[in-house]
């Protein structure tokens, strides 16, 4: 469990990081919290020739409100998401999702940019970001671009980021009216990756459920919500979730169980979102 040989560079700025990534011709990886990348390297499942350490880049740690959005730098750690008052005020769903990640030591190092870029199908933050309609600021050799969180992932552990691109920030829209939210997850043990998870948001008349752990990417399912028939509406939307997902089985749980649990977590998350 020792990594294959690699070169290590510390990037002082986003421009420097992007230049290093580009110079390696596809054989470099940004290093953020290292909580996914380093284990993969130790297992030799990842073998980047160059490791570009983003940690010295101070601007990636920003956390502020700008133009009606909560802007979260790529290096903001899970623990900060879970505890920062700005996140609690403007994206409480994200704060709650971060609390479900791993254990204290992992939350202290792991970053939002790393989690999104890693694109684990069972990870909390990609689902929360999709649920909240977040956008990503992406930097590359050609400059900056914006990518919807919902468009980031194109398969399990795979994204639409080019090899010389990196996430610099996550922008979460701050909505004007009240938004209900809920988050529910089932894991084997406390702190494990989710077997199934659901993030729900609700505005009057509509609700959206984003599912994790049941597809290669976060699965977004929305529906009408008749306020007069809330219970039926919740049941109906949860049933749609079950119907529309095709989870796989693995050593932790069968596909049938996962599918059944989609209904359970969707219902729990929707109940919370609708405060009932």
């Amino acid at each position: 469990m020792k990594p294959a040989p690699f070169r290590y560079v510390r990037a002082g700025s986003v421009a420097e990081a992007v230049a290093e990534l580009a110079a390696a011709g596809g054989d470099a990886k940004p290093l953020a919290g290292g909580q996914s990348l380093v284990p993969l390297m130790n297992l030799r499942l990842a073998r980047p020739a160059v490791l570009v350490d983003l940690n010295p880049i101070a601007e990636l740690e920003r956390l502020e409100v700008e133009d009606g959005r909560l802007v979260i730098g790529a290096l903001v750690r899970h623990r900060r998401l879970a505890t920062d008052p700005l996140v609690a005020a403007h994206a409480p769903l994200l704060a709650e999702a971060a609390r479900w990640i791993g254990h204290g030591a992992i939350r202290a190092r792991g970053t939002i940019g790393g989690s999104l870029a890693h694109a684990d199908p069972a990870a909390e933050l990609p689902c929360a970001a999709v649920a909240l309609g977040a956008e990503l600021s992406v930097a590359g050799p050609g400059g900056a671009r914006t990518l919807a969180a919902a468009a980031l992932v194109d398969g399990a552990y795979s994204t639409r980021l080019a090899e010389d691109e990196m996430i610099t920030a996550v922008r979460v829209p701050i909505t004007a009216g009240p938004v209900g939210w809920g988050f529910a997850e089932i894991a084997r043990r406390h702190g494990d990756f989710a077997l199934v998870l659901a993030a729900a948001t609700a505005v009057p008349g509509r609700a959206v459920v984003t599912l994790g752990g049941v597809a290669s990417a976060p699965l977004r399912i929305d529906g009408e919500l008749d306020p007069q028939q809330r219970e039926e509406a919740i049941a109906g939307l949860a049933a749609r979730c079950v119907e529309l997902c095709e989870p796989a089985g693995d050593v932790h749980a069968t596909a049938d169980w996962r599918r059944a649990m989609v209904g359970v977590v969707a219902t729990r998350a929707l109940r919370d979102a609708l405060r009932c």
Partner: protein, 776 residues
């Protein structure tokens, strides 16, 4: 000292980071080994191409199974059981690989990074052969996979235990229940994995192996035989060891290969396994299937038990315990603490293309207790009886002792019932049943489950005959030595993997000698010390402790003899306490042990006529039969019926460990075993895919119990001293035995309104949910 929780001798060292583990050892010129492991579960090896690896930076050597020094050597676990098929385990796979993770080459380099880089370059060219991972499939007629040609049906060992007239008893029974039960495949996962440093001294032809082994003396024998070295020129040292739980009680090919490499290269070589290697290639355990019929009277009396047991032995019969280890234990102890006169149990150890099975805390009994206790609950439900009543009706009672079981084991425990009573009282059984009714009314599924079990510990020469190995592991040896200033060193044949033996052996010696605990040091885990068989079967406290007691007693007798001579007093008028030999009628006078020791060494001319100088004695202790430790557990769980999740609300355990040397150490053993048991019941399970690839080779997939899975345990004692010399009964494995049983019974009890049974482990949410779906 005995009976009090004195500060542990090892704590100052272990808790301040000053432990001396194998991986802390740095020898001049030391090289590092990385193994190349087979991705194939079963295949014919056409070749192993190591050219690129040999040319890689830092590489000193690469060896494969064809290497002449490797090819000619294989481990053979021996047994004279008539049905046993002896097979060989190569040091590196040659011609054939038999499991995913088997070592096919070893790379030696100047550091482990470079060794792993080069190991990456080794190419195994192999043709896949049909693989079999399920033991029942492996011994079914026509199985396409044959693991060893010597055993065309893959059965490495079989044995039938039989007593009474099972068929008539079953025919006459009021009720016969028949079930199939399965237990899950476990890994040992000690904090410290396997590790070894081998060093060859060409100057005097001696080989030294530092190893995390639980069995240094047996390892020495195996290695000397394998390498053709005189046993006296092989020294095995087990320094501080970070847990073993049985998986370090075998001689592995990797250990032996390190020795081959050290001799060949003339430089020390080191191998510290990583977690991936541990999960892939250290021994697994408890992958069993039980088909059981139990015949009972209407009052719950068990008339007969008829069982067919298949234990997955994995790809090799591990040295020294053989593939018979689990099957024999299962067949010998399936009835546990219950009286069953008509008993038949057919056991088989079956080879498959999976990691070899070996000892793991409890050896088979966590499985047999689960089976027996489930059968009792299933029968109780069918008969409309309370689970407690059925157990009370069948337990071996105090008045039955000595009770000879159907498998000819002699029970000396009088406390099975007392343990159960103590658990029920502490649980407040009636109150829990009331609570269960209340909760059910509110739609919630609360359940309570029981388990009563026993463990044959401190197995002496008669009790350890069963496996018919060339080793009768029935005794331990110890030396108690005073130095010229009266300080005491205990040299013991035991080994410690963190169980606190330095402390307990010092307590025994201090008490017996009448000296202060702080004046006693204990040294063990070195084959240059007294002989011993090592850590397994909860034997060291009982047997090793007994040897220390006998040696200390002999030294004390010598001290009294010398003091009597010096004081011109009669021995009978002297007693030893607080470091002095005192006349009974004038306790302020007398002579210090330090002065006696000084005379024994430095003024030997003052010793009694004919007594040789020095002050040390060596004794062995063999309890011949061994002794039974008893235990009972109760678990209270709540099952979430929508998800199948189990929450352990309470877990109680009352054990009879005989005389307790050190209450905190005993509590630690019991609580550690319970936590391990909860992991085993709820989470842990090694899974191979049908092609024989291990799917659970990291700790993200092989799930250990975490703090949040484990409730605050409620532990109690019934201390009935055994007839062993110290009065102790073994306590190392005991509590692990009852956990799966109690939890499975509790979950089944919680779900009894829906008729759900829990006969397959582990009790995962997905499995429980499926059972509920099926039932409703």
């Amino acid at each position: 000292m005995l009976g009090t929780s004195v500060p542990r001798k090892e704590d100052a060292r272990l808790l301040t980071g000053r432990g001396r583990y194998v991986s802390d050892l740095r020898l001049p010129g030391m090289l590092h080994v990385a193994f190349v492991r087979s991705p194939l579960a079963h295949g014919r090896i056409r070749g192993v191409d190591a050219d690129a690896a040999r040319a890689a930076p830092g590489v000193v050597a690469v060896v494969t199974g064809d290497d002449p020094e490797v090819a000619g050597r294989e481990l053979r676990a021996r047994s004279s059981l008539s049905s046993y098929v002896e097979t060989a385990q190569p040091l590196l796979a040659r011609d054939r690989v038999r499991f995913n993770g088997e070592a096919v080459a070893a790379v030696v380099a100047t550091d482990r990074y470079l060794a792993e880089d080069a190991a990456d370059l080794v190419v195994l060219d192999g043709d896949p052969l049909p693989a079999v991972v399920d033991a029942r499939a492996a011994c079914a007629p026509g199985c396409a996979a044959v693991v060893h040609e010597e055993a065309p049906d893959n059965v490495l060992v079989r044995r039938r235990f039989e007593a009474g007239d099972v068929d008539s008893a079953l025919a006459a029974a009021h009720l016969v229940v028949e079930r199939e039960l399965r237990t899950n495949r476990h890994a040992g996962v000690p904090l410290e994995g396997r590790a070894g440093v081998a060093s060859w001294d060409a100057g005097d032809g001696t080989l030294t192996l530092w190893s995390g082994t639980q069995i240094p003396h047996m390892i020495r024998h195996g290695i000397a035989e394998l390498l053709g070295l005189p046993e006296r020129r092989v020294r095995v040292l087990a320094p501080d060891v970070g847990g073993g739980f049985g998986v370090k009680a075998s001689l592995y090919p990797e250990d032996a290969l390190l020795c081959v490499l050290a001799i060949r290269l003339g430089r020390p070589v080191r191998w510290v396994e990583d977690r991936l290697e541990h999960l892939l290639s250290a021994s697994h355990a408890r992958d069993h299937v039980y088909r059981v019929r139990a015949g009972l009277d209407a009052d719950g009396t068990v008339r007969a038990l008829d069982a067919d047991v298949i234990c997955n032995a994995g790809a090799y019969s591990l040295w020294p315990y053989t593939a018979a280890l689990e099957p024999l234990m299962a067949g010998g102890l399936l009835a546990g603490p219950y009286r069953v006169d008509h008993y038949r149990c057919e056991v088989r150890g079956v080879a498959t293309n999976t990691a070899p099975s070996g000892p793991y805390r409890g050896v088979a009994r966590p499985a047999t207790v689960f089976v027996m206790e489930r059968m009792l609950d299933i029968a109780a439900a069918a008969l409309g009886l309370d689970p407690v009543a059925v157990r009370r009706r069948n337990l071996v009672r105090a008045e039955d002792v000595p009770y000879t079981s159907a498998t000819r084991l002699v029970h000396d425990s009088r406390t099975y019932g007392a343990c159960l009573d103590a658990v029920l009282e502490r649980l407040d059984y009636a109150a829990v049943r009331d609570e269960q009714r209340r909760m059910r009314g509110a739609g919630r599924a609360l359940g309570v489950g029981l388990a009563v079990y026993n463990e044959l510990t401190g197995m002496g020469s008669a009790a350890s005959a069963g496996p018919r190995m060339p080793f009768r592991t029935g005794y331990e040896m110890a030396t108690v030595r005073l130095d010229p200033e009266g300080g005491v060193t205990v040299l013991a044949g035991t080994t410690s993997q963190g169980q606190g033996l330095e402390t307990t052996l010092a307590q025994i010696a201090a008490d017996e000698l009448g000296v202060a605990y702080d004046d006693v040091d204990v040294r063990m885990g070195d084959t240059q010390g007294p002989y011993g068989f090592g850590a397994f079967a909860s034997r060291q406290g009982v047997i090793g402790g007994g040897a220390v007691l006998l040696a200390a007693r002999a030294v004390r007798d010598r001290i009294v003899q010398i003091a009597a001579h010096l004081l011109e007093a009669a021995e009978a008028d002297l007693r030893v306490e607080d470091g002095r030999v005192r006349p009974v009628d004038a306790p302020d006078l007398g002579i210090s042990i330090a002065d006696v020791a000084r005379v024994a060494y430095h003024e030997a001319h003052r010793l009694p006529e004919g007594m040789s100088p020095g002050l040390e004695e060596t004794r062995t202790y063999d309890p011949v039969r061994g002794t039974f430790a008893a235990g009972a557990q109760a678990a209270v769980v709540e099952v979430d019926r929508t998800t199948g999740e189990v929450r352990v609300l309470r877990h109680l355990c009352v054990e009879d460990a005989g005389r307790v040397y050190h209450p905190a150490i005993v509590a630690g053993q019991i609580e550690g075993g319970l936590a391990q048991g909860i992991g085993g019941a709820l989470h842990e399970h090694h899974v191979y895919d049908p092609d024989g690839r291990l799917m659970t080779a990291t700790l993200m997939d092989y799930l250990l119990p975490a703090a949040t899975d484990v409730p605050a345990f409620e532990v109690g004692h019934v201390d009935d001293p055994a007839a062993t010399v110290t009065g102790a009964r073994g306590v190392g494995e005991g509590s692990t035995l009852g956990v799966a049983a109690a939890l499975a019974n509790a979950v089944a009890d919680a779900l009894s309104p829906w008729g759900v049974e829990t006969n397959t482990l582990p009790l995962t949410p997905s499995r429980i949910h499926a059972a509920l779906e099926e039932a409703t």
